[in-house]
Amino acid sequence: MSQFYTSTDHFVLLPAIILALFGCAILIFDVFWFQNPKDRKWLALLVITGLAFTGAALVRQQLHLTTENLTQLTGFGGALTIDRFAIYFNWVFTLATLIVAIVSYHYLEIEGEHHGEYYALLLFAQCGMFFLAAGTDLVTLFIGLELMALCFYVMVGFLRGDKRSNEAAIKYLLLGAFSSGFLVYGFSIMYGLAGSTNLVAVEAAVKAHAGEPLVYLALATTAVGLLFKISAAPFHMWAPDAYEGAPTTITAYLSVASKAASFAFLLRIFGPSGPLAPARDSWEPLLAVVAVLTMTIGNLAAISQTNVKRLLAYSSISHAGYMLLGLIAGNDTGIQGIAVYVLVYAFMNLGAFVVVIALRRKNIIGEDLDDMAGLMYKSPGYAVLMLIFMLSLAGIPPTAGFLGKYYIFLSLIETHHYLLAVIATLYVAVAIYYYFRVVKIMFVGELTEKAALSTSFGLRVALGITGVLTLAIGVYPEPILRLAQNSLLR
């Protein structure tokens, strides 16, 4: 490390720099030029611009890897690594932030909490996610995680006048801090074993100390911290409350982007070349139990929910269980499956939440299942799109969601986890039950309340993007599968 900040370092860090700069710019602009809440929707435009630059930086990094024929590019003495895995996940984050930003301006106005820092927090959170996908150093990863989590603590409690939002934020903060404690504890033991925070060094140390109690301790505490972040059972308790109380846009963001980032993080630690990969034999059965438990709790609890946001929260828990199965299989198909799953999940889940957002109108909360009654006869377009999202979430072809499940099931069969495969498939049938409770009430329920949906240009665009992609990826998935294939962690 002869030089403190080389041009490679700069190039590697570029997306994060752009995100942070635009976040700061939004804060400043907000103070000086956007005093009137009506004008604040232009801040969303600034977010889009920032994301466009981030996207450009990602493209440049991708091109650099391709032209130089590199598998990865490291910066900061191995603390950050840009590989196809990191770029892929960053695209997912970028798309999620984009969609959340364009549906937010109208929603926040209805909630009466339209503030500039909201948009800044979105970008800062994504900045944290960048480090989670690209970090290859325990400290970098941890800082990325905290940056993301802190932004989310604030955003979950963004509806200051709403008790539920406040409660959700406190719960999320307390449990989140608690789990971070576990994680840091695990990391410190790993550091103790390796004498370095670099993931490669840690892996070597774990291999060298295989079977020692300290490794198990590190494993257990790290797993607890990470499982909390992906909302796997039995560490899922925060999720339904946080999802229900948070502003719906943030619920969508939390369930998609934060989950994707946490899975990127999980794969960096537990994945094929991660520091805990050598100890696979000891954690695989453990995670298998966790995955089954997660699917069980997520699916069974979702059945009886009457609040759509809570229902989607439990569904999101069960999806985490499915994605975990990909890691348990652990072969290329499994990891590719997680990558595909994260992407299609982003589209279908964001889409479903956008419909819920459209149901929030002045004086109508619109979160209950009953609020959707007869939606088909009021806004058929929304109802049909919601049907597509529900089918996709359930994993029925020809929608995108099927592909995620397809890879997960295939990976389980390839690695001879037949029992897990049977359990996972049977839960598809359970899941269809509650997804179709939503469908049923939209298509068969009596239209009770006639107020039109609240919609905006951004919302319609977001719905269009997510809906078209959910169907298009399902019918012709080839490009997405190629992309995911290339993003494999080696």
Binding site: I396, F402, L410, A429, I432, Y433, F436, K440, V444, Y476
Partner: protein, 518 residues
């Protein structure tokens, strides 16, 4: 045109569906006319398949294939042999008639109703033409959603319960089937180093018996629920009773055949060792026989007209599965023909009950009686449908059942004995039903002034009756069409079957083929 004929048949309803979406929902008449036109066109377009089908060729015809998802080895590969040809013709004809018979019955949410039917039509044809497992699975699942809505939106009082039960049962079966498909897919990769879902490629697999058995059971769950075989049949009475008439017709005539077709097309050729495994054959045969007898006994108990017909499907489909697992040409050819026959006769029976239900809004058998005096034309139609279902000689049901019994007899005398008992019971419950509803004096005053069949209603039955009589009088063309594909399947499953000497070979020709009607 010729090389894309099958695609055109497959996608005509889908195109009709897309155009239908553009018609505003208030134009009810226009929507009905359009849907009927598309249904009729779909049938007409499928006719050239028959005229251009070459029954002397074994293997698939009208094949079309191109890469769909190369990175997982899924192809858009379609093609038909004799078995699928017959089922497609059944689908396009019954599909059209089902659309036609809804003209007055459905007045609510008309656009959505016909949209669902057209989508369903493409899904069903797709199941019968797919030669790629991935494609097959997509179509297989595609069928569920429209059917859910047809039952759940336009059905009877317990429609939502019936609809979700149908969906959950079939979905649970099909995801387990997916695991079986993926196992074959993975094994192919192990043995040949490439990923493919092509049926023809997967047939090259040489799998040990125990693995074949596992895959067989996973397919079994998917197909047996669809058929439905005992004890997976409990969704069927609910779905049938609650579904609107056209929904029941499609469900009985076509959807159930997807299960038996799955056994013939996939289970037998892909898993030949497991298919002749004694345990498996015994279990399947016993379940089929239980289905036949149990279904018939329940029919004798029924107070509900529609439920009776629903349970008769369980019994009749038991014959079809028994025929398949007799594993000889008579059994399999008879089974396929019986699937067509069941589609014709049970389709008609559901339309028959639909017609009085439209007039009286009750399905209680006790509410009727002596209808023959009030509705003579109706009584004649019902008699033909009932007799064809009961297997009266000169009508279609007889030919199918007789051939299946021959096959069953060849496989095991015990099976045949039980199956014959099923035939007798079948005649009993159907005749008794006819007697209770049609014959005698009109006991219920409200039945006195029921209008007889209208011209449209009559027109719906005529094609099916004509088809039924044709099969009953002269089934040879059907056995000709089925000969090659059936022979191929039997050779695949029992390679030594045709080498059993000339005497044996003579016995393998379906009996009806040699001498027409016996």
């Amino acid at each position: 045109m010729d090389q894309h004929l099958l695609s055109i048949v497959l996608f005509t309803p889908l195109a009709g569906f897309l155009i239908l979406l553009l018609i505003p929902g208030k134009q009810k008449e226009l929507i009905k006319i359009w849907a009927n036109l598309v249904g009729f066109a779909g049938f007409l377009i499928s006719l050239p398949l028959v005229s251009r089908f070459d029954k002397s060729i074994s293997g698939f015809q009208f094949e079309e294939s191109f890469d769909w998802i190369p990175s997982i080895g899924a192809h858009f590969h379609i093609g038909i042999d004799g078995i699928s040809l017959l089922l497609i013709m059944l689908t396009t004809l019954v599909g059209f008639l089902a659309i036609l018979c809804s003209w007055n019955a459905i007045d609510d949410r008309v656009k959505e109703y016909y949209a669902m039917f057209l989508l369903l039509q493409t899904g069903m044809i797709g199941v019968f033409v797919s030669l790629d497992f991935f494609l097959f699975y997509v179509f297989w699942e595609l069928v569920l959603v429209p059917m859910y809505f047809i039952i759940g939106v336009w059905g009877g009082p317990r429609k939502l319960y019936a609809a979700i039960k149908f969906f959950l049962y079939t979905l649970a079966g099909s995801v387990l089937m997916l695991l079986g498909i993926l196992t074959l897919y993975f094994q192919y990769h192990q043995q040949f180093g490439a990923y493919t879902f092509e049926i023809a490629d997967l047939m090259k697999l040489d799998l040990p018996l125990h693995l074949q058995q596992w895959v067989f059971w996973s397919f079994f769950v998917g197909f047996a629920i669809k058929v439905p075989m005992f004890p997976f049949h409990t969704w069927l009475p609910d779905a049938h009773v609650e579904a609107p008439t056209a929904g029941s017709v499609i469900l009985a005539s076509v959807l159930l055949k997807m299960g038996t077709y799955g056994f013939i097309r996939f289970s037998l050729p892909l898993l030949p060792k497991a298919s002749v495994d004694q345990t498996i054959v015994q279990v399947l045969a016993v379940l089929s026989i239980i289905g036949i007898i149990y279904g018939a006994l329940v029919c004798l108990m029924q107070q509900d007209w529609k439920k009776l017909i629903a349970y008769s499907s369980v019994s009749h489909l038991g014959f079809c599965t028994l025929g398949i697992f007799a594993l000889n040409p008579n059994g399999i050819a008879g089974s396929v023909l019986q699937q067509i026959n069941h589609g014709i006769s049970t389709g008609m029976l559901f339309m028959v009950i639909g017609i009085v239900y439209e007039r009286r809004h009750t399905r209680e058998i006790a509410e009727y009686g002596g209808l023959a005096h009030v509705m003579p034309k109706y009584a004649i139609i019902f008699a033909i449908a009932m007799l064809s279902s009961a297997g009266l000689p000169l009508l279609n049901g007889f030919v199918g059942e007789f051939t299946i019994l021959q096959g069953a007899f060849e496989a095991s005398h015990t099976w045949a004995a039980f199956a014959v008992a099923g035939v007798i019971l079948g005649a009993a419950y159907l005749l008794w039903l006819y007697q209770r509803t049609m014959l005698g004096q009109v006991t219920n005053g409200r039945n006195l002034h029921l209008p007889d069949l209208s011209l449209r209603e009559l027109a719906i039955f005529l094609p099916l009756i004509a088809w039924g009589i044709w099969i009953g009088l002269y089934p040879k063309p059907y056995f000709d069409i089925l000969e090659k594909p059936v022979q191929q399947i039997v050779e695949r499953v029992r390679p030594d079957y045709y080498q059993g000497g000339p005497q044996r070979a003579a016995a393998t020709k379906p009996a009806a083929l040699q001498g027409g009607v016996q």
